[in-house]
Amino acid sequence: MAILARANRRHFLRHPLQLLLAIIGVALGVAMVVSIDLAAESTHRAFSLSMEALTGRYTHHITGGPSGLPESLFTRLRVEEGLRETAPAIEGYVTVKDGSTLRLAGFDPFSERNLRSRFVKAARGDDAVRLLTEPDTVMLSAVTAQRLGIHPNDLLAITVNGQAHQLKVVAYVEGDEAPDPALEGLVLADIATAQEFLGRIGVLDRIDLILGNNPDQDRQIRSQLPPGIELESVAGRNSATQNMTAAFELNLRAMSLLALLVGTFLIYNTMAFSVLQRRELLATLRIIGATRGQLLREILIEAALLGLFGGVLGLAFGVLAAKGLLHMVTRTINDLYFVLTVTEFMPDPLILLRGLALGVAAAVIAALGPALEAAWASPLASKARSGLENRARRGVPWLAVGGILSMLIAFVLLQTESAGLVPAIAGVFLLLLGYGLLTPLMLLGFAWSTVVLARLSNAWLLRLAVRGVAASVSRAGLAIAALTIAVAVSVGVGTMIESFRGTIAEWLDQILQADIYIAAPSTAARYSPPLPNGLPEQLGRIDGVDKTGTGRRIIISTSLGESELLALDPPYLNQPGFRFKQADGKVVWSTFPTMKAVFVSEPYAQRHHLKVGDNFELVTDSGPITLPVAGIFFDYRSDQGLIVMHRSLYDRLWKDGANTSVGLYLKAGADLEKIRQAVGLILSSQQQPLVVRSNREIRAASLETFERTFAITQVLRLLAVGVAFVGILSALMAFQYERRRELAVLRATGLTPAQAGWLVLVQTGFMGLTAGLLSIPLGLAVAVALVRVINLRSFGWTMDLAVSLPPLFAAIALAVFAALLAGLYPAYQVMRVEPSAALREE
């Protein structure tokens, strides 16, 4: 290595803690981005692979409504229409002993042959014959079998629609070949066995077929399909399913980028400090003849190396964290969107490379400012610290102007409704950046007021401490800005979650009007098994039950894509079942039983740009029908949205007598427990296990799902604060290091070691307090942006902003605590310093 490079690199080796903090800063930032990317990519990959495995070479599906497709349709298409490349399919979800959900797919070995390559093994040979000839036999994915400890000829205990069964695993789906991750979570059965277990004898979910790229053929097949039965392309259906999670993933990525931004602050801080520490060394190098370009190159190479080391460490952390995050992301997707089993975790080299590049780029960009400062400063001027602080102080108003401009752009981006989600997220980032730029000015104002107060109260240590902070605005301003942003994000996200929780609780109170609910246990998101016929009437006859209400949830095809439909039969019309967005709820609700229209939830309206009065087409058992939107209601059960219609209209359009849930409305003074027992007695006579829950239990379970959904956000929030803490620790150490001579002079003139230690803690405490106080307005602004803009544009949810004081006080306390904690080591160092040694150093 060249001597010039050595002169600079060894500086870092002489300050290992500083080097370590910088590397940790980069590592944490990169780890967060990489872990989120890896987790999201793994779920994508798992989704694509499982879709590919299940759809094989098929290009289209024929699907029906809630009652499915008659088996006869398959025979007709294959025999009469000559569509040989077709196969029947039925799918459902079962749960196994470890609580995970598996996909039970019924297939026809005779129809499959070469169409689904991954089923080829299963479709041929003796194992396929066993599926057809032996009752209750299935094949299981080898990966899943290994996970569950199941071997061929073992029994697999499953629960489907609440009923327990034992299935015999005759073989692995893969046969003797290597376990295939794409088949993870798959239980394969003969179609008749699957129909039996899923309680859908004689019914198919879909018919898979291969069609050429021939629109005429598509049209011809469509024309021959009975009403309510649709032909759709596989690609379109898969992409629509995967798109459900787009906003969720984008929000996760935004959080991870935020961590990288805080990490970048940290690198900037480290590089700026290292340059300041070396200003005499750099000046000497310039005097000897090192050019500006040489110094600039050296510092940027240093930063790149730092980014590289931190990045590599970050990749290791990221891969480890991704394994944990993968579980959380998959659980959220399973809770909210669709069933997905991901156990296979493969670090994608491209993501790792991108993470590394991001770390290096962030480090180089962060170091650019200090590097330019070092290279462009005159060798004579760079020897003087006061010159730098004077320049920094002169720059404060300009930074503030930049900050205000940045916040104005943020305001415009957040206010422009048509701008979409990405500009809104950019708006939040600009808001944070702008406020960060404004921070040094606010720090000077706050310091000035504190000095005045300290003078009035004769608090000399406080005055001395605060003056010291204000005199080092270039360093203190940056540290405070980083801590302010991190705490503000924590406040913003916390307030958003709190607001969301409050809104959900209020919403649950509104929609859970019955006292007891009965439903079949659901094994998957967006899938609600039907109740036994006649059950609502039987339950309605229980003594003490005033009325019953029923609900039917199904997935239907519409002109806006696959949608969830809820058909309701509410017994009372005086109390609206929903809170409506635009109209008077009571008036709209009173017309519900007679209207030939639908209500749509806010996310549905937002996603499909629907307004009250707009029309769209629904595919029913009697053919397509166009219905108007009569009202838009607030709803938080799914960000995909929901269509609601009255049961009477549903019955006219669909030949489906089933119900998904029943609500029992009790008479005044009725004994809830006694009625519950009576319900239990009725249900015990049913073959299908059903779940009885009071509205309070449903409320608690819903809130639990809510907490689970936000668990990942909470983790990311904590990590962002963690990165900021490392940042403030590094900044404070740098800050105190620079003031060691001043402290040595103070010590020489009579300051005791304890007073010197206190001085440092008062300074760091003041910095923490400033950051804490400044973080509140920014945190609230971030909360408003998240609640009113980001959530609305991501998921279509409007929420009531709920601000409570305790979390705000907690945020201030957190900032002060973090700063004081970070100040402990510098305080200890200052107390140990020999004044003579520190003075001699100059």
Binding site: L4, R6, G289
Partner: protein, 244 residues
């Protein structure tokens, strides 16, 4: 292979000219800075000629502009008016990058506080100017060790500056200033931070090395003893030069 006497520099240093014309010529040099909105002039028209190989002592009261003049001569700063020519070409006409390249080839600096690079060993400090001039470490090593031997520090070549005494540090700084055989050596109070005996030893060495190599030395000093060693003594008073 270069030796302590002959060092091959990739970018050739122009030959030091004979006594006429002068190596350095300053004509009407003015320099100052703006302070609280007002222009404060430090040098108010300095005229000076320095011959190659000459040793000059520059004295004056604190704040008289001695260091400013030294920085102008070393190309660290540019005059607000006037002309500084080195070997016939105008330094003030050079841009910052060109002045840096000129300085690294033709000037050696010695400071009161040594200004050694703390992260480099003694030998590395010495070899740094050679490296900046395009001579790699291996090629310059023999020359560096030779000069360190002359100042009795060869055995400390691997030590870091913080392990050396003040006198030793200044001797290293001296070798670093001379290793690339600059035409001009500028010393700003080189003994100001040393006791009398150590200072004398350092000056003896500096004198012998500079004279042996035929370099031009301009030395700022407050000490009459140090000033007496020079061939010529000039004094800065109120931003103007006076011959003593």
């Amino acid at each position: 292979m270069p030796t302590s006497q002959t060092i091959e520099v990739k970018q050739p240093i122009p030959p030091v000219p004979s006594s006429t014309p002068p190596l350095l010529r300053l004509e009407g040099v003015r320099c100052g800075y703006r302070e609280a909105g007002e222009w404060r002039e430090i040098l108010r028209g300095v005229d000076l000629e320095v011959q190659a190989g000459e040793q000059l002592a520059l004295v004056g009261l604190s704040g008289s502009g001695k260091s400013t003049l030294l920085h102008l001569l070393g190309g660290l700063d540019v005059p607000s008016a006037g002309r500084i020519s080195f070997d016939g070409f105008d330094l003030a006409g050079l841009g910052e990058p060109a002045r840096t390249l000129w300085r690294r080839q033709h000037v050696g600096f010695i400071y009161q506080f040594f200004n050694l690079i703390p992260t480099l060993s003694v030998l590395e400090n010495v070899l740094l100017p050679l490296e900046l001039n395009g001579i790699d470490e291996k090629a310059g090593r023999e020359a560096g060790m030779g000069l360190l031997d002359q100042v009795e520090l060869a055995e400390r070549a691997g030590a870091y500056p913080d392990k050396l005494s003040g006198g030793e540090q200044q001797r290293v700084a001296m070798v670093r200033a001379l290793i690339h055989q600059p035409a001009l050596v500028l010393a700003d109070e080189p003994t100001g931070n040393l006791d009398f005996a150590t200072g004398e030893k350092v000056l003896d060495l500096l004198d012998s090395l500079v004279r042996a190599q035929g370099r031009t030395l301009i030395m700022v000093t407050h000490s009459p003893e140090v000033a007496r060693r020079a061939d010529r003594l000039i004094r800065l008073v109120d931003g103007r030069l006076e011959a003593v």
